[in-house]
């Protein structure tokens, strides 16, 4: 504490930011790692029981500065604000307290002068994209980030299908959490390209409304609130349910099924026995123009085997900040369409934000087909990824 307090206060007031990211830790392990970095190497890490005692008392606040670069040369500076929702209190019993925390985190972002704020993880679920629940603001806009998340989920699924030789047209797609903003967005984007869609969620009325919407476009749809009740075995699965922890266990899947876990916290239980299924974590993007944290929480806040990988919900706000487009892009629930997804994907790609290399709990998902061509950020490009870059950036390779 060598600097003057008055000087620090003045610095705090004068440093306005382009964007803010509001999030929370998905596990106690993740929370412990963040606190360990903040304590520094000269202090012993806090015991787990101490962290569980202390964390619920920490008011929402900025944790670090985030600087992001674009391949166009543009730069944007932001803040990561943690709402400090305890990882084991994401359930309905703590909803009121959690909404209060998200509101307080939003107030931090507004006070910091952020032009655009991404609501990550449960932050957007809690308020269901209803920004009227957020504090009054004048120049700060909010986005749930769900549109770019859907874009990366769909891209990831297509990439895995290409690797595994699965034909989308003959596939049966199961979406868990289908009536949520992300789940329904995935359904709209993929339904035209698959044989059949199985929709699973808790609310049967919302399921039926979504089914009617998809069937109007000629899609074969089945709905069920119980995963065991579907008549078909899916070979493609998207997990996008707002579960409070990794607890999902499957019944029957088609052989060599591809499973995308795009939830935060993860849906799939670590003990899920799916030896033949190919699992990957969906909704993640990679920033190729540069990403820095201060304090240096790189690899702690964004835990991934590959560098500069961030959740799509947070990347949407960063991409819009780099674009200088300070308008809310993703709001409410049920408005994500193929057109909106393409639009935000183009914005992101313009600034070097692409689908992240695929990974799961055990590490990178190996692509046997990829020719190893490394960019300066150590991103491994396969032939399909070069095609994607050409398509969005509009340059010939």
């Amino acid at each position: 504490m060598g600097r003057s307090v008055a000087g620090l206060a003045e610095k705090g007031r004068s440093n306005e930011v382009d964007f803010a990211l509001i999030g929370h830790q998905e596990s106690w392990r993740a929370a412990a790692d963040v606190l360990a970095v903040l304590r520094g190497p000269e202090h012993a890490p806090l015991p787990d029981d101490e962290i569980k005692d202390i964390l619920p008392w920490i008011p929402p606040r900025a944790v670090c500065h985030v600087d992001v670069g674009s391949i166009t040369g543009a730069k944007a500076c932001g803040l990561y604000i943690d709402s400090f929702i305890p990882p084991d209190r994401l359930d309905a019993a703590h909803m009121r307290d959690n909404i209060t925390r998200v509101r307080a985190a939003a107030a931090c972002a507004i006070k910091a002068g952020a032009n655009i704020v991404s609501l990550g993880g449960f932050s957007s679920i809690l308020i269901e994209g209803n920004f009227d629940q957020l504090p009054e603001r004048y120049d700060t806009v909010f986005t749930t980030g769900n549109t770019l998340t859907v874009g990366f989920i769909v891209q990831g699924l297509r990439e895995m299908c290409a690797r595994e030789g699965s034909d989308l047209r003959g596939s049966t797609l199961l979406i868990i959490g289908a009536t949520g903003d992300v789940g329904s967005g995935c359904a709209r984007c993929l339904a035209p390209f698959v044989k059949c869609v199985l929709l699973n969620a808790r609310n049967v009325d919302r399921l039926r409304r979504l089914a009617v919407e998809l069937e109007a476009d000629g899609t074969e749809v089945e709905v069920a609130t119980d995963l065991q009740r579907f008549s078909a075995e899916p070979n493609l699965v998207i997990c996008a349910a707002s579960l409070t922890g990794p607890s999902l266990l499957f019944g029957h899947l088609a052989p060599n099924a591809i499973v995308c876990d795009a939830a935060y916290p993860k849906n799939l239980s670590p003990s899920a026995q799916m030896p033949v299924a190919k699992i990957f974590f969906g909704g993640l993007g990679q920033i190729t123009g540069g990403l820095n944290f201060a304090p240096d929480l790189h690899g702690t806040l964004n835990r991934n085997p590959f560098p500069n990988v961030v959740h799509g919900c947070l990347l949407e706000g960063m991409a819009l900040a780099l674009e200088g487009r300070f308008k809310p892009f993703s709001q409410g629930r049920g408005f994500i369409t193929q057109g909106r997804v393409k639009e935000i994907e183009k914005v992101a790609a313009r600034h070097g934000i692409y689908l992240a290399p695929l990974s799961n709990a055990t590490g990178p998902v190996k692509d046997e087909r990829a020719c190893q061509t490394k960019c300066s950020n150590d991103k491994v490009f396969g032939p399909d990824e070069f095609e994607r870059v050409r398509m969005y950036v509009g340059q010939d390779q």
Binding site: L35, L38, E50, I54, H65
Partner: protein, 68 residues
């Protein structure tokens, strides 16, 4: 001093607040716990620093380095 007083264990001996007789073991008799007192004190400390308009990321690092 507050952090030391409310730390789970008095690693430096008595914190001198209780005049040689530690009250921590008796908190439960008045429906309090050291964890709750510590948490509430931490929150009050951070809220006060917020009112002084100190950057949240700086004050968070300060409290993360308090003794436990």
């Amino acid at each position: 001093m507050l952090a030391e007083m409310l730390a789970r264990e008095c690693t430096h001996g008595h914190c001198e607040v209780c005049q040689g007789s530690c009250v921590k073991p008796s908190l439960f008799e008045v429906s309090l716990s050291a964890a709750e007192l510590r948490g509430a004190s931490l929150r009050r400390y951070l809220d006060t620093l917020d009112e002084l308009e100190l950057p949240g990321e700086v004050t968070l690092a300060w409290v993360a380095q308090l003794p436990v």
